[in-house]
Amino acid sequence: MTRILIVEDDPELAANLTTGLKDAGYTVLHAADGETGLEIAGHGKFDAMIVDRMLPKCDGLSVISTLRGKGDHTPVLILSALDQVDDRVTGLRAGGDDYLPKPYALSELLARLEALLRRKDSSGAATKLRAGDLEMDLLTRSVTRGGKEIDLQPREFTLLEYLIRHAGQVVTRTMLLEGVWDFHFDPQTNVIDVHISRLRQKIDKGFPHAMLQTVRGAGYMIKAP
């Protein structure tokens, strides 16, 4: 069972989040303020934490830096109403692993949480990535599917690399904008979709199984057959 600790003071948001995470198959514990959060975190082993920035008694960033100070490296997703680029930077500097501004879509949160949990597992710097019959060589920057060479533009290569690193997980449009283009804001356009459909043309055309799938209302996923 994957254990998640939520530290959030808004009871309604916390209840929604708890339900959403339980439905997704996680075991969830909830703390309503920073001190309780620290106490619970100190007693049990968690796979990831979701921490609100504004908390009574001890604010979210202090909770994270206290944990990090104790040598606890549990991945932390920061939630915040301060939807501003510079706050994001402060949050990540304090030791958070990802940052999600409120209001967020549950699908976005689940995708990012999944990415955080996987990041913990992934071992070292591989030079080859693989998903099904799709292979990427990061050194020669070449891509093959079923032994057939696929020619990609540099940006398409980065996009595919990001998707394969998160293979089997939902990757949202904002995650792609952050991870591939380093755009830390939501541009409210469907510009990513065009890039995805181009990439899909190159890697899926002529193959019976479509690897690059659209997850409706959430984002995209590389899925091996």
Partner: protein, 463 residues
């Protein structure tokens, strides 16, 4: 001018004039005091010397001849002294007068050879005398003195002058301080009353400018331009609030009516799912509006200034062009990037990216045929980042208006958008001290003009 008098004495002007007055008074007293001591000392010294000489003369006469000769000389001296400025007295060893123009040996002259001071009555007044006594070899005692009454009178005059001077300084200081403070208070009262009127809600009221072009007029002008800006901001906030209410009401109404329909229609799961999907998309649009407002607030707040770094404009342009090229190609548009690297401006990367992205997004969205050109160019004074398209353009009279929040030129609002895109670009331009220029004859050209760019090439040349 009610309660003016008590307030007057608490004004800084009045306190300042009192301070000046005190300093002035002290310096007057110091100067007079110096003159007084210098003069009086000098007069006493001269008097003493004269008396000493006279005494020496008389003793010489005594030595030359005898007591007889001394007496006749004294006699002659007394006759010569018409003014009566000198006193002489010769007494025997029992202090009985032998010769002189004062009747008795003064009690102050106890020891021979000493200076003394005594008074004698002459007519109505007491005259102060300075004298020297000496004993002669035959046992007689001689006293020679001078009237120092003029010196005393001078001293008194000096003290009087000093006192009058001090009194006059005090009077003038208080009067001057009073007048200056009253003048100052009157002018400040006008400012206070104006400020109170403005605080009571009369935002169009202004500080009075009397035309004297003094510091008060300049203060009034500065305050007036500040008030102008405040009035403009409040008006624009009111406008934004109203527009926001309008823009949010329609989607919320749509959501509500559709949800009501679903509630009454006993729809199946698939239908419900569809309706929920629709509601989520509508609320996403609402959230997008709020996010855009927050981004504008961030750019206008100026806190982002702390995170500004020197950036290469061309790299920013490349990032955005790279993101939009496939979309433009799909629409059959030619997206070009002109210019070269090395033009450095101090900027907030994410906000500048967002500004350029908004411009390119608009250009691609509104252009159906032709292309979009992103240009990075510079000369010595400024750097330009421009996005030109071959779309429908914006009429000259609408160009200023589209920068305002919630303004959309498409009256039917058929295209997606919230009317905040260009407002955000304008706010980001302001944050960077850049000028936002809307131009173009066929299509639209939007240009961000950065002042004082630094060129990497120039830096290398000088290094």
């Amino acid at each position: 001018m009610r309660h003016l008098a008590p307030r007057l004495f608490r004004t800084s002007t009045f306190r300042l004039s009192l301070l000046y007055m005190a300093m002035f008074g002290i310096s007057i007293i110091a100067v007079l005091g110096f003159v007084y001591f210098a003069t009086v000392n000098n007069m006493i010294r001269i008097t003493d010397e004269t008396i000493q000489r006279e005494m020496d003369d008389l003793i010489t006469e005594y030595r030359r001849g005898s007591a007889k000769r001394l007496q006749s000389v004294i006699h002659a001296r007394m006759n010569d002294d018409q003014v009566g400025g000198w006193v002489y007295l010769l007494v025997d060893n029992a202090y009985r007068p032998i010769l002189g123009n004062i009747p008795d040996w003064p009690v102050e002259a106890t020891e021979a050879g000493h200076w003394l001071r005594f008074t004698i009555p002459r007519g109505q007044h007491q005259y102060t005398m300075r004298a020297l006594s000496t004993s002669l070899p035959n046992g007689q005692l001689l006293l020679v003195g001078m009237d120092i009454h003029p010196a005393e009178k001078f001293t008194a005059t000096m003290i009087q002058a000093a006192l009058w001077g001090a009194a006059l300084t005090l009077a003038l200081g208080i009067c001057g301080g009073y007048l200056m403070s009253r003048n100052m208070l009157r002018r400040l009262d006008v400012f206070n009353r104006s400020a109170e009127r403005i605080m009571r809600g009369n935002l169009s009221h202004r500080m009075p400018v009397v035309g004297s072009d003094d510091e008060f007029d300049r203060l009034a002008e500065t305050l007036n331009s500040m008030l102008q800006e405040i009035e403009r901001l409040i008006a624009s906030i009111r406008g934004v609030t109203t527009n926001l209410a309008h823009d949010l009401r329609s989607p919320l109404t749509r959501i509500k009516s559709r949800l009501e329909l679903v509630l009454t229609s006993r729809a199946d799961t698939e239908k419900l799912r569809h309706e929920i999907d629709y509601t989520i998309r509508e609320s996403d649009q609402l959230l997008a509006t709020f996010n855009a407002l927050l981004s504008i607030a961030e750019a206008e707040g100026g806190a982002a200034r702390a995170n500004m770094k020197p950036l290469d404009l061309f790299e920013i342009a490349e990032d955005v062009a790279d993101l939009y090229r496939p979309m433009a190609e799909d629409k059959g548009l030619d997206l070009q990037l002109h210019g070269e690297g090395g033009i450095i401006v101090t900027a907030h990367r994410q906000l500048l990216l967002q500004a350029l992205l908004n411009l390119v997004d608009n250009a691609v969205k509104y252009t159906d045929t032709g292309g979009v050109i992103i240009t990075v160019a510079n000369d010595y004074a400024h750097a330009d980042l421009s996005v030109a398209d071959t779309g429908p353009g914006i009429a000259v009279e609408d160009r200023a208006r589209v920068l305002e929040q919630f303004v959309r030129l498409d009256p039917a609002r058929t295209t997606r958008g919230n009317g905040l895109g260009l407002s955000l670009v304008a706010a980001i331009a302001r944050l960077h001290g850049a000028e936002l220029v809307l131009d173009g004859e066929d299509g639209l050209e939007v240009k961000l003009v950065f002042k004082d760019p630094s060129s990497r090439k120039l830096a290398q040349l000088s290094a």
